[in-house]
Amino acid sequence: MSFELFVQNVFNSMTVGSLYALIAIGYTMVYGILRFINFAHGDVFMVGAYLIFFAEMLVPWPVAALIAIAGASLLGILVDQTAYRPLREAPRISALISAIGVSFLLENLAVVVFTGLPRPAVQPAWMVRPIAVGGLRVLPLTFLVPLVTAALVMGLLYVVYRTRPGLAMRAISRDIETTRMMGVSINRIIALTFGLGSALAAAAGIMWAMRYPQIHPYMGVFPGFKAFIAAVVGGIGSIRGAVLGGLLLGTVEVMAIAFNPTLSGYRDAFAFVLLIVILIFMPTGLLGEKNKDKI
């Protein structure tokens, strides 16, 4: 493979990986606090993409992006309060089933409201006009995605490690009862967690729509699964793990096919194979903590 092509693929890896990372963060935060897999998270990503599609027809792009992120964030909180909160005391599987239900609800609601026809997102011209870098022609978007992702992740880490609500989030993930004793309103912090994760997923949805402009109701299914796998690979419950897992998965996907194009039909399977491998050899993930069951 030529050098240019290799570099091209590296950029692609970073782009895809960043998007997986953003979505993965949402899964990992919710799991870290509630020990619960939010099946509907991938569909929040989809809603974010639809929101920007419609909003950008009405208002300038930056405003549309804000609307999409805010809207998706609220959706995430709404889903938690209506479908998950009533089941906090129930067996964990009940909440999982509810999450599956929400996921299907969102997907089919999207079919009903938006129809299954893929919608073309508007890509701002400056994002997709190739610029020359060295011997390569690259889309500005390809740089933008990892940069924006990095900024968002920094922002999130700031919130989690340097603010009081973030402190509460970290406390809850270990000991809910003691955290309550400190005067923390658990429900509010949980809602915040969903809100933050959903906002990031929406940002990913927006950037995904810019990169792959076909928006359809089921677009969140595979990226959602893969992002969850990325979170598990990186160590579920760890934000840094989610980022690492996302980048790793993106790299594996893009590079494997780059080196061996005949594997392209198997692209979607890589994530699942990676999942099985990690679950067998390192179930707590690359950056996760060892969880010892004392018998």
């Binding site: 020990r35 619960f36 089941l87 509810s98 929400v102 089919n108 699964f225 039909g265 699942f272 194979v273």
Partner: protein, 381 residues
């Protein structure tokens, strides 16, 4: 809702085996006459529904066995169904059909001339699915609840990707058409009876008790020296077997299969039936299958346009043309699932079971209820 359903009997049935046996035989005979009548008297659509109910019941029972009774949250059911469907189809498609269907790449040589009876094909479908279960069980079963779900889901997707890509074996994404339609009322219900018999036998046996104890408290079971892994593996394979059977029957019923149809939505439908019927109740899975299958069909009307034109005497509703809303069916379905899981987790039947003993106890129960009514209360008016 107390009779004729009773709490599951603890320990060996202390009832009357002869009576129960005779009743069961009687029921089977009655059932077969009913089916005979149905195949003659009902129209094609209704017969199709009856077929679907049977197959969905088999699938629900297999998932309930894995999850409700053995406590393993498996989301990979569609994968096993796919395996069963493809294996069975490969066995009953004629060589001539195979030559036509596999037009992109010819079918792999040994499969080209493979032909078996329908019963054998379904059996093989189940066995190969069970084999896949065994392979998957090894790495995956030691994981806890949520992880197990994701891992099995992952395997189902891997199976789907394999089916799509191994064109000489499966004809890839195009799928298989014109599968001989052997899955009639007789075969579907016969397999349902077999499934019920096997699963009920296992559950009543010591093996079944061990499974339930593992489900309820895995660690306690281990400390009692039970090899939980081997028990769960066996249960997983039994469930996989019947999922394969269900898939095989379904393939022959709808005569067309393609990898795309064995997606998560299919697993979701079965999961819905299991939850709606009652996790951990055999009766629940059968009843749930009937209710949900009919509901699924009934709800199709919201996806096609229809007219409302009611003359209610005092006023008239319509004429109104309601446009069909595609996708609405699954929206309602998702809402149903969520409603059930939030408000009535036990589903329709909970964990109770229908049994002959409970049925025969029914008259005395009713008598008891009636007798308990305060004789003085009638006068109040």
């Amino acid at each position: 809702m107390s009779a004729p359903l009773a709490a599951p009997a603890a320990g060996p049935a202390a009832g009357k085996p002869l009576r129960d046996g005779l009743c069961t035989v009687g029921l089977l005979l009655a059932g077969s006459f009913l089916l005979r009548w149905a195949s003659g008297s009902l129209n094609g659509y209704q017969i199709q529904l009856l077929n679907l109910i049977a197959i969905n019941a088999i699938l629900a029972l297999s998932l309930n066995f894995i999850y409700g009774f053995s406590g393993m949250f498996s989301l990979g059911h569609a994968g096993f169904m796919a395996v069963g469907a493809y294996v069975s189809a490969l066995c009953i498609l004629t060589p001539a059909q195979k030559a036509t269907i596999w037009f992109l790449e010819p079918i792999v040589a040994p499969l080209a001339t493979l032909q078996t009876s329908f019963f054998a094909s379904v059996m093989l479908g189940g066995l190969v699915a069970a084999l896949f279960s065994l392979l998957i069980a090894a790495p995956v079963l030691r994981l806890g609840g949520d992880y197990l779900g994701i891992a099995t889901l992952g395997f189902a997707e891997i199976i789907r990707v394999l089916l799509t890509n191994l064109v000489p074996v499966t004809n890839g994404a195009i799928g298989l058409r014109g599968i001989p339609s052997h899955a009639n009322l007789f075969w579907n219900y016969a397999w349902l009876v077999i499934t019920l018999y096997v699963i009920l036998s296992i559950l009543k046996s010591n093996f079944g008790n061990v499974l339930k104890s593992i489900r309820d408290d895995d660690i306690a079971a281990k400390t009692m020296g039970i090899n939980t892994t081997s028990y769960r593996t066996m249960a997983f394979c039994v469930g996989g077997f019947f999922a394969g059977v269900g898939g095989a029957l379904m393939g022959s019923l709808i005569t067309t299969i393609e990898p795309k149809m064995f997606n998560f939505q299919l697993t979701f439908n079965i999961l819905l039936i299991v939850v709606a019927g009652g996790l951990g109740s055999v009766t629940g899975s059968v009843v749930g299958s009937a209710v949900i299958t009919l509901l699924l069909e009934g709800l199709r009307i919201v996806e096609y346009p229809f007219n409302i034109d009611l003359d209610l005497g005092l006023f008239r509703v319509g004429p109104v043309h309601v446009p069909g809303v595609p996708g609405m069916r699954m929206v309602i379905f998702a809402l149903v699932l969520m409603f059930i899981i939030i408000f009535r987790r036990q589903g329709l039947i909970g964990t109770r079971e229908l049994s002959w003993r409970a049925l025969f106890a029914l008259p005395s129960k009713i008598r008891g209820l009636v007798g308990r009514k305060d004789p003085g209360a009638g006068a109040g008016g």
